[in-house]
């Protein structure tokens, strides 16, 4: 327990509300001076005791009746109120349900029309795309055929120069008669001199000869 002096000396004032200022706190034991005290019992005469008992019993009975009456009244009122509110709320709920259904149907219709439009557009786009693709494919196929036919033409033209059994001997003779030499040389000016044994005429040699 804080002492009164400590409370007064504190920097901040502290307000303590006492139920009864002079009382000891409940958790403290009995004061030393009061330990062996036996409090006197109040003396009530028999007449008074009986009369008080009668009056108190009557009072309790009356109050019990009044309290019960008002509790029952309150319960009745509450239940009637609840039933009324529940009916009201049911009607309101039904109304709201209808409204919700209408709104829902409206939304559904709008969404359905939107969907139809969208699908039409999508279908058109798909057709266009398919046509384009088909054209592209046709074109590609044509090109391929053209390329192939060109190649065939070329091969046909080339086929005249092919070595066959008939002209094998002839060709061999021809090849032997005309040997081809793929060797060549390049000078610093980029002139190509074909053949291994080709005679090269140098310019400075020409100059020297000219000078001589």
């Amino acid at each position: 327990m804080l002492s009164q002096r400590y409370l007064l000396k504190r920097g901040l004032p502290m307000y303590i509300q006492h139920a009864e200022a002079h009382r000891k706190p409940r958790w403290l034991p009995v004061a030393k001076s009061k330990i062996y005290r036996i409090p006197k019992r109040p003396v009530v005469s028999e007449d008074e005791r009986l009369e008080l008992r009668r009056i108190n019993n009557a009072y309790n009975t009356q109050m019990r009746a009044i309290r019960r009456f008002y509790v029952e009244d309150w319960v009745r009122e509450k239940s009637s109120l609840e039933s009324a509110t529940s009916e009201m709320s049911q009607r309101l709920e039904a109304d709201e349900w209808l409204k919700c259904e209408e709104l829902n149907d409206k939304w559904n219709k709008q969404i359905a029309s939107n969907r139809e439009e969208r699908r039409k557009k999508e279908l058109e786009a798909m057709e266009e795309f398919a046509l384009l693709r088909m054209e592209a494919k046709d074109k590609a196929l044509k090109e391929r055929i053209e390329r192939a036919s060109e190649k065939i033409k070329k091969e046909k033209e080339l086929s005249t120069t092919f070595v066959t059994r008939e002209n094998l001997e002839e060709t061999i003779e021809h090849v032997l008669a005309n040997p081809i030499d793929y060797n060549f040389a390049i000078d610093s000016k980029g002139n190509i001199y074909e053949g291994r044994d080709t005679e090269i005429e140098y310019e400075d040699k020409k100059k020297v000869e000219a000078a001589n």
Partner: protein
């Protein structure tokens, strides 16, 4: 040998006796079959006592209590069902009846089993201010006005109940009113005009 002297200190009490465990714990077979008396019930002219049927001890946390089942006789009438004593077993108000005194109690029981046949009323009249208030309140709420200003009366339901409560239209032997009533001891009201 030390004498057992108990000096009471502090508030006085109406109780006189021991707790139930103090009695039962020191008896053979926990005192099953013995008679026990609550001292405060001795204020009634008819005998009230209890016969122990079964005893169950309690855990250490409840060392002042004990669970006892008894055949209860209250105000000369034996209750039809066996009663359990647990919540009130700590009260230092129980007294053991010695075996030679048991027969006397039973004798008194057979002799005195006729208390006055009082029938308590079911209803009570409203207090005067409440009558006026209710009339006005019902007018305000648009309800029907009451014709009889009577309230139902409720009583505690206890197996110990001696007086009977009127059932239905039965006529009660006494009536409760809202006034002061008839005083038991008129000497207290000397010089006071009643009514």
């Amino acid at each position: 040998m030390t004498t057992k002297v108990v000096k009471y200190v502090g508030r006085t009490t109406d109780f006189k006796g021991k707790t139930l465990w103090e009695i039962v714990g020191s008896l053979k077979n926990f005192g099953v079959g013995r008679l026990i008396v609550r001292q405060v019930f001795n204020r009634y002219p008819e005998p009230s006592f209890m016969k122990i049927v079964k005893v169950q001890t309690c855990p250490d946390e409840e060392r002042r209590r004990v669970r006892v089942w008894v055949e209860k006789t209250f105000r000369g009438r034996k209750l039809p069902e066996i009663t359990e004593i647990y919540r009130t077993s700590y009260k230092p108000d129980y007294q053991l009846i010695s075996k030679d005194e048991e027969q006397e109690l039973y004798k008194r029981l057979t002799n005195e089993y006729n208390y006055s046949d009082v029938i308590l009323p079911n209803t009570i009249e409203m207090p005067p201010l409440m009558k006026k208030f209710i009339v006005r309140d019902h007018e305000k709420k648009g309800l029907q006005t009451l014709k009889e200003f009577i309230m139902p009366l409720s009583y505690k339901h206890s197996p110990n109940r001696v007086t009977r409560i009127a059932k239905g239209d039965e006529k009660p032997t006494i009536q409760f009113g809202m006034g002061l009533g008839k005083p038991i001891s008129p000497s207290l009201y000397k010089g006071v005009p009643l009514e």
